[in-house]
Subunit: 264 residues, 3 copies
């Protein structure tokens, strides 16, 4: 089975995603193309990075994940193909791949330089269609990442709110607001499961807001609550409402959870 | 051919639908996944039920229809797989499957209990990804519904406006407003074809509003009209406009059509 | 490989697109259906025509392009299948196919008349599902366009702003506004590449607005600029903003570019 996933800010109103799929199918007819999202906010690299990281591991091994949120298209930023133990990631080297890559075992990082794997005519503004799509399709066909260009040691990381221990607290920040208005943080419920105790106090912007509960409905309607959401990260929600709206939560707002002990 | 259709309120902005498809493809790589809608209003079980009922019979036999509009996720409501003569339906037992099922010949109803067919880790908030998607994929692979859990006699029905004969009138209600603002009723044009006559008077909220015509353009622009729409149900439209907006029509508003005779 | 592309104004909120795909898969299970857009403005034939023309050539040969923006559904307008050297186009004969067809070498034009290739029951309002989808699927299965109905000499063209030479200027008009607010014109950068020189003056509504540059960022943030966009056509953009909003640009606004010489 051959799978290419797409995470972009292209929107669905215009023909952009259709053209990308046409290019892919013209090179690799047997592929199944799956949309993760095309409604990442315009140029919002953080949101694209989070959407990719939150979904990529639900796909079978050898899937190719293409993510294009690329406000710098046409500038000097490189395009990358990153082969990991389980997947190949393709996209601009601007951080959009970086959150997903922190959880993967990286094998190869190559710059996209070999024009043989691009469309013949490359526009200045639509590298999703002209570079990333054909490269992803050729990778899917079996072209080795080593063919694509020169090696690169590392990749651009996001200026992400740091997760860290501060005294009794584990501190991080809001990194994504989903369509329900839930504010997702980068505080990982799995890694911190030894520390995060039900009923722990949660502070947002330095002020106590709510407690950690097992599920949204553990608080009355309209009340704020912290839960370990389906992504595995701590999220701030309002039972039956939008936390982002009701509480004015925004990306990068600092969040802290009182940990069970100082040595978790 | 293996087909799974998806009807949900997950939206398309986030990665939710992508993760569902990744799970399905990881279990059954040969499947074609078709989106019916992911923009069912949040938790609007009635709208999801109608969208599923309006489209499911256009798919080939043996398709698997997964519908997840599930405001009670994490509560005690059961998950069901319902095998009918032509299809398998998978979703929460909260009514979202019920309208489609009224037109099917039911063979087997089973509760989703066998965790062998779930993801290894089941979240509290995303059973679409963790339970319904893997179950649908396993069914698609040939797992029998009998493997999934214990038998159940019946399923939850919607509190739907009743269609009934009242004197000279056939009465029902508005059950769905589409994106054009057409108000779709549960008055079935096929079943009642002996009664519904062109030019019949149509009452909404007890007041005469318009007549039954063969097509929208049979009335002047901006005027209300009743037609038997492409779903086979009576709908109230405004030629060139939005009936819901222009007339203030809402879900559950009662509708009545004067029938041709008392004995249709 | 068998591909059918879909360009419609059906929206994605309701079940319309899902039903279309169900019909197609019921006839031709091996097809890959690709959405170009379902968010063409209601009945906006021009926008549908542009979206199709901007994307169709990125698909492999023998793809079938179905475009249904059809405000006259149920009226006397014909349905067409147009076989060209590379593709087959299917849709109403109202201009929605015409812009794409101007770039194709036409072989056969047939009216959709043979009901054998329609759904058994054809509604008045949803020919996308009942006529165009099954016809596209049958074509995909190998049915010849000659089977579909009587021959037709020509097809309906759009009342498109004319591209023409006027003294020192090449004149045309705005034909599409994309989701970023870029105003796309029908002035073809490829055909006119001998004339369009960087720094050429661009007039909109008869007044000088900006110059032709190689890329958006060649002007300061917030400033207007003309570029040959990824479709190959001249577009008017605002660096970092929406040209349509900032400059009040609208469909059919006349645009002119000062050409390099009178004899290009």
């Amino acid at each position: 089975m051959k799978i290419i996933t797409l995470t972009t800010d292209f929107g669905t109103k215009d023909w952009f995603v259709g053209a990308v799929k046409g290019v892919i199918l013209g090179i690799e007819p047997q592929v199944t193309v799956v949309d993760i999202s095309h409604e990442i906010g315009d140029g919002n690299i953080q949101a694209g990075a989070f959407a990719l990281a939150a979904s990529c591991r639900f796909f079978p091994r050898h899937s190719i994940h293409m993510a294009v949120v690329d406000p710098g298209v046409g500038s000097a930023r490189a395009g990358l193909a990153v082969q990991t133990e389980d997947y190949v990631f393709v996209g601009p080297d601007n951080g959009v791949l970086s959150l997903a890559l922190t959880r993967e075992k990286i094998k190869v990082i190559r710059r996209l330089e070999n024009e043989r794997y691009f469309l013949k005519s490359v526009s200045r503004t639509f590298h999703g269609r002209d570079i990333f799509a054909p490269v992803a399709a050729h990778l899917c066909q079996g072209v080795s990442p080593l063919e694509l260009g020169s090696a690169q040691e590392d990749y651009v990381k996001l200026d992400w709110p740091q997760t860290r221990q501060e005294g009794d607290y584990i501190a991080g920040g809001i990194v994504y607001v989903d369509r329900f208005g839930n504010a997702l943080t980068n505080i990982d419920g799995v890694l911190l499961s030894g520390c995060l105790k039900l009923e722990s106090a949660i502070l947002v912007n330095g002020k106590p807001l709510c407690s950690l509960k097992s599920h949204y409905q553990a608080v009355p309607l309209g009340q704020p609550v912290g839960v370990i959401g389906s992504t595995g990260f701590l999220e701030i929600a309002v039972n039956g409402g939008s936390a982002a709206e009701a509480l004015g939560l925004k990306i990068n707002d600092p969040v802290a959870v009182r940990a069970g002990s100082k040595t978790c």
